[in-house]
């Protein structure tokens, strides 16, 4: 008789523990899901990649460098490459969330022939910091030739900030 009573008591204690475990599991799931879906999607790397791709397509087509590349400068670069760096009016952004820089140099000697940049140059200074709260920077380079067969190295640097909308 006494054994049966103890068994019943033990079962009750077990079910209390069981619910305690369930509550802990539920709490952990709620916390993890909330923290995962509470954070914004970080698309800056994709954006920087697309920006460098677009600039590369603008400067070189089929391996041949753009004909009027010597005439590229800070004033006409965005227009020539069909880019627009204006952004939505939020978080006090002032069209300063992008930066792009190109450097065209002689492939053999390494001598710089043309350097152009557009956007917010301060973003480049923050690139040294490897932290998600700083701008995302990407540097890529490619090889191209002109009609005469002269070889060029084109380096493209892109930085995207937009931290408030991509990182929390």
């Amino acid at each position: 008789m006494s054994i049966q009573k103890n068994k019943k008591g033990a079962e009750k204690i077990l079910s209390v523990y069981w619910f305690a475990i369930l509550l802990i599991v539920a709490g952990a799931i709620v916390y993890l899901v909330s923290s995962f879906y509470g954070k914004p999607y970080d698309v800056r790397e994709m954006e920087a990649r697309l920006l460098t791709d677009k600039i590369a397509n603008c400067l070189s087509a089929g391996g041949n460098i753009k004909e009027n590349w010597q005439g590229l400068n800070a004033d006409n670069f965005l227009e020539e490459c069909r880019l627009v760096f204006t952004v939505e009016d939020s978080y006090g952004w002032d069209d300063d969330q992008y930066y792009a820089e190109i450097k065209i140099s002689d492939f053999d000697s390494g001598q710089s022939l043309n350097e152009v940049n557009a956007g917010n140059p301060n973003l480049k200074l923050d690139c040294a910091v490897d932290d998600k709260n700083f701008p995302l920077c990407l540097e890529r380079s490619m090889y191209s030739i002109d009609k005469a067969g002269k070889q060029y190295k084109i380096s493209i640097f892109a930085a995207v900030r937009k931290t408030e909308k991509n990182v929390q």
């Binding site: 899901v33 069909r82 952004v87 939505e88």
Partner: protein
């Protein structure tokens, strides 16, 4: 006879306890699932997802292209919230805005590709949007 009655009562109690235990467990699982579905498919999450997705698609595209976007989940929410389905996705200049609730602000994200873009609701399928790009 008396002993038999006692035993019957005892068995009944055990069964009831088990049923309550199972029902509570099931209720726990159902509440958890509801929470997960409400979080993953909520309007703010979908607004952000579609605004960013469309902005990136426009960045990767060229003028005269048309981009089809399947948005069944977002359109269901917009219908439930009595939102005008033609205004779920709007593109103003180079800023994409996704809005699933009439009283909400929506979510905006910019693209850097200097093209003309217009978002249209697919009135035939009623679960898609298509974005038409044109040179500026």
């Amino acid at each position: 006879m008396m002993l038999l009655k006692k035993m019957r009562n005892k068995k009944g109690t055990i069964l009831t306890e088990n049923i309550i235990f199972i029902v509570l467990n099931l209720a726990f699982i159902v509440i958890l699932m509801l929470f997960l579905f409400s979080k993953t498919g909520s309007a703010p999450v979908l607004e952000e997802k579609y605004a960013k997705q469309i902005a990136l698609l426009i960045d990767a595209a060229e003028p005269v292209m048309t981009i089809d976007i399947e948005m069944e989940d977002a359109i269901k929410i917009a219908q439930r919230e009595n939102m005008n389905l033609n205004e779920v996705i709007t593109i103003n200049g180079n800023i994409v805005t996704a809005k699933l609730r009439p009283d909400g602000k929506g979510y905006s994200y910019s693209f850097f590709n200097d093209v003309g873009a217009k978002a249209n609701f697919d009135t035939e399928n009623r679960n898609k949007y298509y974005v038409v790009l044109s040179p500026k």
